[in-house]
Symmetry: none
Subunit: 538 residues, 2 copies
């Protein structure tokens, strides 16, 4: 039996049914290009005519010269009507695609309850619609909605639906677990039972994640003989999402030896998944299998020391095969091996046996005890390590800040910050307003520094998190602030801890700017160098 699997991506159609997912026509074009580069066989673009975004997408996608086949989605013709005159089917033709996905009912309960028609008319609707599009020269993928629930309730009818679709010429017969309620052994049993009534049929699978089993159900179907797999990137989709292609593809290709998108394309999977999460504007869960930022991250001290000996000890695949990479986190549970490996990553000469190293490891552990958490604050950790190594030159020093929040009844709240820092021996005192106290502090500090270090213009704060550490003391409890900063190329994370949320934020802000300035030269040095060269630079 062939070991090639046809990969059908429905991120642009079923994926957009997910809560919080909304894609413009432009977003859809970007994602389609990226999916094409990944090498999926089908890209389901949307429902032609359902809205202006999909109409625009189908128009624009024709000029992209994609290798993947773009498909348009629609239902079988309405009951009691004629396929040739069905508005939905005509819209599929007008969209200019060469392949269509048609969805039809295969659960008798749904035929009665949702369609409110007879079992015979439903079969005719399926036959007519597929035959019509086939006559027009399209490839037709038939999605049998609720196939597994239908099979459990009335196996003869569910099989009759697939047979009818096959008879009409459908190129793929896709069994959908629409409600996501089936289990892997059920999928396996049902698919296997089809070899009798439907010998050699081109079967496909489409699952949902309501039992956290969509990936397993897909594998189960493939192992039972299915050769066409539908899913979405990052598992986007209605309710709990669709089957996640970012897990299915590596499982099929690396673990079971099926051919999906080739090894070279597989190495772009992480980048593709993250790109699409950016376009969809959805935070990717840090622990997402294969492609998540923590998928190959190690925290426990014992794990880390074993990983450093041989990465197979705690990694099921080489992360590079899916374009991801190993990361070593630092935490209170970790031994010193994490810190050593971190220092080595940074290119520091860091001998774990030296007194200096022991001192800094002790200091990091003390800070963690106070509530600092460096696993989410690589940049703050790097500053500590470079400082301990004597290679950090501070380009500014803190003198003072004041932060004032003021509100009167019926008036908007006002936040102002006053910041005094010293750069190259010069004391700078400046003030700024902001949308909230931390924003005001950020604005004031930036204002003070940017005249000396214009590169700070390029950075901005991308994420801000507050965690109350010990709520026993309620409003007097300690809080930890984590800040993510970005410029055009990089992102870095810093941390601050205090019982005062403003002070904790200030600490993380200052670290963020200190990190941005690593490797920059000081205004003093600029002056000195100019003086040496006989230039006047004032």
């Amino acid at each position: 039996m062939s070991k090639s699997i046809s990969i059908f991506d429905t991120t642009l159609r079923d994926g957009t049914q997910g809560e919080g997912i909304s894609l413009s026509a432009d977003d859809k074009v970007k994602i389609a290009k990226k999916l094409d580069a990944l090498g999926v066989h089908y890209i389901e673009g949307g429902i032609p005519g359902s809205n202006s975004k999909d109409i625009e997408f189908f128009k624009r996608v024709q000029d992209l010269g994609l290798t993947s086949k773009v498909t348009a989605f629609g239902s079988t013709r309405r009951k009691g009507s004629i396929a040739d005159q069905d508005a939905n089917l005509l819209r599929i033709l007008e969209s200019g695609v060469s392949a269509a996905t048609l969805v039809g009912k295969s659960w008798d309960f749904h035929v009665h309850t949702a369609l409110q028609t007879t079992l015979e008319e439903n079969l005719a609707m399926i036959y007519d619609s597929i035959a019509f599009l086939k006559r027009k020269g399209l490839e037709v993928i038939f999605d049998a909605e609720h196939f597994f629930d239908g099979f459990k309730n009335n196996p003869e009818y569910a099989v009759a639906v697939l047979s009818k679709a096959r008879e009409a010429g459908a190129d793929w017969l896709v069994m959908c677990d629409t409600n996501g309620g089936s289990l892997p052994h059920e999928i396996s049993d049902i698919v296997t039972s089809l070899t009798g009534p439907l010998p050699g049929a081109p079967l496909g699978i489409h699952t949902h994640n309501d039992c956290e089993l969509a990936v397993a159900n897909t594998l189960s179907a493939v192992q039972a003989g299915v050769r066409h797999v539908q899913g979405t990137m990052n598992g986007y989709g209605e309710r709990c999402g669709n089957a996640n292609l970012c897990s299915i593809i590596p499982n099929l290709q690396l673990k079971l030896g099926y051919e999906c998108i080739g090894d070279d394309n597989l190495r772009t999977l992480t980048n593709t998944a993250r790109y699409i999460s950016e376009i969809a504007n959805v935070n990717m869960p840090v622990n997402q299998p294969y492609v998540g930022n923590a998928a190959f991250a190690h925290k426990g001290g014992i794990h880390v020391s074993a990983i450093l000996r041989d990465s197979r000890t705690y990694e099921h695949i080489e992360p590079e095969k899916v374009g991801n990479k190993q990361r070593v986190l630092v935490s209170e549970l970790a031994g010193q091996s994490n810190i050593v490996s971190k220092a080595q990553d940074m290119g520091l000469d860091f001998d774990p046996a030296s007194e200096q190293s022991k001192h800094i490891i002790g200091k990091i552990k003390d800070l963690e005890h106070e509530g600092y958490q460096f696993e989410g604050a690589d940049a703050s950790l790097e500053l500590l390590l470079r400082e301990a190594n004597g290679e950090l030159k501070e380009l500014f020093t803190f003198e003072s800040f004041k932060m004032l929040v003021e509100k009167s009844a019926g008036q908007p709240v006002v936040s102002e910050a006053f910041v005094k820092v010293n750069v190259a021996g010069e004391s700078i005192y400046t003030a700024a307003e902001g949308n909230g106290p931390v924003n005001a502090l950020d604005n004031a500090l930036r204002k003070a520094l940017v005249q000396y270090f214009p590169t700070l213009k390029e950075m901005h704060l991308a994420d801000y998190k507050v965690r109350v550490l010990d709520d026993k003391d309620a409003t007097a409890a300690k809080v930890r602030v984590l800040i993510e900063s970005k410029n055009f190329e990089n992102a870095w994370n810093t941390v601050g801890v205090s019982s005062n949320v403003i002070e904790a934020s200030w600490e993380a802000l200052v670290d963020s700017m200190r990190y941005a300035l690593l490797g920059q030269i000081s205004p003093e040095q600029v002056h000195e160098s100019a003086a040496r060269q006989g230039l006047v630079n004032h």
Copy 2:
């Protein structure tokens, strides 16, 4: 064969290996109580002696009177040493638990590479350690690390490890898929093959989610005869997480007919999962199976009209069975019934058809759209409803506040608040310092009010949480503050939302005091009543 499954929760141990998960001793105590109420059989609390939080937790948990067995985790004795003198094993004894989880190697590669000892010595380490704890009267759960990778590489040795553990008296032999790289059919085949060498052995399963298959792998093991399941709430854990008990328990109980925690406890699953995500301060993915906010949410128009005819059309179970609920994202019907039932709970005369009711329902929906969340803030919701019903008399009104945070290099940070409120026509302007800005505001507001309302002395703030709602705008993003307040008898929760963390805190603080004063009479009324009775009361 028994259909009872022993559920072992390791949220407090393996769960804390997850990136971004950090729990204080206090957090751990809260989660342990909640897990006990859910009815899990084992709660793995941590590693005694590894850090001060775990030491404190094991001390405090002994006084809670939990029904679940609390277990302490540790490795088998060190190579070439004696179990009776092994520091880790002694710490488990000192922790006061009645059950221990001991982890040992079962992959020959790991014995050589990570432990750097012989296969024989590893077997002796396992035997000695288990036997030692059994002699001391503990129940021992043996976690065979990397069992499946070990079995694939050297089945005889992997089986020998389980046999040795059984011989030493282990109560459960738990097969771990530590690297998360195994597939369901492999798990099934391997577990089934053990019936020969280990007839009737008490087997357990512990999986990780690196292939997005942890839940499927667990089901596969149970279907092959395993009766002990290890996992974490919400699937927290290292890399891609541990097997998610929030999906496993309903799958086993509702789909496969196993007995785990009983039907009544299962109805508290959603609440438990969300509570734990709040304590861990991790946003629960909206699409999390069974317990996520979108798990039973319907967006598509066709789906919605079918759902309204019969919810089985697009729901694999009744959401109430896991304590979740159906949401129709386009409909206004969902929220209204909750508000009506809440008002009725409060004894308010609340006719959902009245204009007034429609107005307040609309207002609550608007507030939720702005980021308010009344699920965790009953007291704020009650104030809104009583206000709409015209039965709320305000005992004080807000005039203004100022909040100043000041810090100079080398000096401690200082927080001061200045609050002006009006009580019984009298304007009170007062100031207070605090340990942080919110504490200062709390102190100042309390100082202003307590002279008129001495019952405020009895209340205090018990919990303070900050959640950044939209991290795209970084420090200018909106934040939601939730405050829990307590007096001798009651606890109540209030909420504030603003892009300014100080303003959001102030809002929640003010609501907290307004709620505390419900049903109190005003100073004016005291005066009037005294005057009526001819008493002078000044």
